[in-house]
Symmetry: C2
């Protein structure tokens, strides 16, 4: 469960009310017409989870693996990575998920060095099946581990891709196992599809509970019970030229990869040319408290007033570590926290920082996760996805394309073909 506190020091005027009504209508339309598919994933993916669970229970190979190597980049890895980081502490027995993303030779070699082929399942993820980084790393894995695609290693590889894609045809050719991604689900909105659900379920996570949390949030939203989401989107869409940067300040180390997922989701969805030809889009920035309140906070407090800040905290951490009631000679100044838990300390830091920014008139809001558990993560994911779709609708942009990343890809191909 998440408690939302959207006190941004802002009230919606009539124009904003219209924006909200229109955007809500847009999302309803997208869902009903099926032009945007992620709204249905929390329900639709239950089948995938059941199938994967049954498959895992019957596969000797899966049971003998201790590692799942996910080969994918961007939307094909960040979501599962974020969930894995948040839930890992609850699952000491889960299989290791190793993400092979960056085509950095030192990084790849280091990760390869930790893999044993007979203990590893490889999952190759690419919507198009032509992502140069992913295909190249896949080839390097084939060579390094002597993977025999035609014979005994068929079961060691699973592909996740769009139906009819190049990767899909590859899989058919070799008779490998594959899961598809619905065509109407973009990479950065795909964590609740097979892209996230297959590796997470195979690793041993209770993805069913995660989908339940997600599904309940989708239902409440379309049932008009989460109005705060509309208000927050309207705040961002109406004020992004003033508050150009939204800082996510997450007070738990395990949320670092979630912050990266959010930066990807917002950056790629909202940085666009709108229907009038204007370049629009707030800049997402992710920070971790309390570490970054020792630095970036200074810029928020005294730098230009161009930032809004969203605090995320975890009400109850799984560990109840106490700050011992020890008096150390000469460093008694921080004894005021003695006997309290670290849980209390980190959350009090979050509250104190929020208060100090709020006192300065900086727009802040907060999300309090009851726990870092499956259902809450599902809700959190959907919250951010819906917020993104709403903000995009209000900015009058296409939230779901990414034309700006194509130019670099074309230049890359040219560079190699010339060489």
């Amino acid at each position: 469960m998440i408690i939302y506190d959207h006190n941004l020091g802002w009230r919606a005027d009539e124009e904003a009310n219209e924006l909200m009504a229109e955007a809500f209508g847009n999302l309803v339309y997208e869902k009903e017409k099926g032009t945007v598919g992620y709204y249905n994933l929390p329900v639709d993916s239950r089948l995938i989870v059941s199938e994967v669970e049954a498959f895992a229970a019957s596969s000797e190979l899966i049971q003998s693996c201790d590692t799942i190597a996910v080969i994918g980049i961007g939307g094909s890895s960040l979501g599962a990575k974020a969930v894995d980081s948040i839930l890992r502490h609850k699952y000491p027995e889960a299989k290791r998920l190793l993400f092979l993303e960056n085509p950095d030779p030192v990084d790849i070699e280091e990760k390869f060095a930790t893999l044993k082929k007979d203990k590893t399942l490889f999952i190759v993820i690419s919507k198009s099946g032509t992502t140069v980084e992913t295909v190249s790393i896949f080839k390097a894995a084939i060579e390094r581990f002597g993977i025999d695609l035609k014979g005994e290693d068929k079961e060691r590889i699973i592909a996740i891709t769009d139906e009819g894609s190049a990767l899909c045809r590859f899989v058919d050719y070799h008779g490998l196992k594959a899961y598809t991604i619905p065509h109407n689900v973009g990479g950065r909105f795909s964590v609740l599809s097979s892209v996230g659900m297959v590796p997470l379920t195979l690793a041993g996570y209770d993805t069913c509970s995660l989908l339940s949390g997600a599904s309940a949030m989708v239902e409440r939203f379309f049932d008009a019970q989460e109005e705060h989401l509309l208000l927050k989107a309207a705040f961002i869409a109406s004020n992004w030229r003033e508050y150009r940067i939204n800082v996510m300040f997450a007070y738990a180390s395990c949320l670092e990869n979630f912050a990266k997922w959010y930066v990807q989701l917002w950056g790629e969805s909202l940085g666009k040319i709108d229907r009038c030809g204007n370049r629009v889009g707030p800049t997402p920035v992710g920070h971790i408290g309390s570490v970054d309140q020792h630095s970036f906070l200074q810029l928020i407090m005294q730098g230009p007033r161009d930032k809004s800040v969203t605090f995320i905290k975890v009400e109850e951490f799984e560990k109840k570590l106490k700050i011992p009631d020890i008096r150390l000679e000469h460093i008694e100044k921080s004894d005021y926290v003695n006997g309290h838990t670290f849980n209390e300390l980190i959350n009090a830091e979050c509250d104190a920082t929020r208060e100090s920014l709020s006192d300065e008139g900086i727009p802040v809001d907060s999300l309090t996760l009851s726990r870092a558990d499956e259902a809450t993560v599902g809700e959190l994911i959907v919250y951010y996805e819906l917020l993104t779709s709403l903000t995009g609708a209000m900015l009058h942009i296409n939230t779901y394309d990414q034309p700006g990343v194509e130019a670099g890809k074309r230049i890359l191909v040219k560079k190699f073909k010339k060489a």
Copy 2:
């Protein structure tokens, strides 16, 4: 060695030339008067390194440790962490550095679980000695590992702090080993002081070469041989209201912690109220290529023109992993990179992305590190420190204080004292 390419599509006018001359003069003054101490660290810290090396060679305890647990937060950890990440791949034999920073109970418990007291040296770092997170984690470590400050564990603890600080008095009281931080060196500028040099040297890194690279850069700069630094600072200081965000796009996984260090350094140094009472400061953002070119790049390309981008790449990675010349049925589209190295691929991606942004008229510059080695890291650190000081001087702010982080600390104390 670093090759600097500061083609920001910008030429300094007369006003900028004056800014540059004045700022250069300021730095010379700060160095000569000793008001800012980090300029001298590359030379002064050589003594510390020699002392630490001699100590390590003679200490049985150090030799028997496989882990150095650094307890510190913000400026007390980020620098050493950045260097450790960059150089680790060259030092398979180096002791593990474990950073205990965030007062997150799950994070602390997970790290504690990997520690064995008789194999661990604890280094407690705090300039003031009263940082509540650091002191609290230190107490938790004392309790968890039964550290006997009065007897047999004296040698297992080293403190790094300001002379005369509360932590310094604690150390004296117990007769523990300590290294001091010069008073004129702020936390975020302290990586080349004992704060970074002691843990890194004890871990086994060649910090002497790192200091040489740093020292050469300081010398060349004050000898007026690195004019590009002045130009870049002038570009940022003169244009930050238009280009409000500087994105560091680093094309190597090992640079992720360096990007965090840069974000801290800039954010805390440059986000200030200037001498006329204006809130100023560009916002630093760190990203890793090629991963983030699959997302954040869209925002840079098509979103608002409020960003400049600094590319960092490594000319020669330590590993020469090849993309195998394998043809996979149906996914031949990326065969154009077959037979090339991942080193070539990631750098070509960097160049292609840079070119695509440059073609759009977005201000870009780049730093090419010949290798991710000790001397280059030293140079890179000093480059960013000098750039920060220059930009601060041109913005007419106090680069070295951080008044904005104090309000939250006061509220925190009140919260606990009330409870």
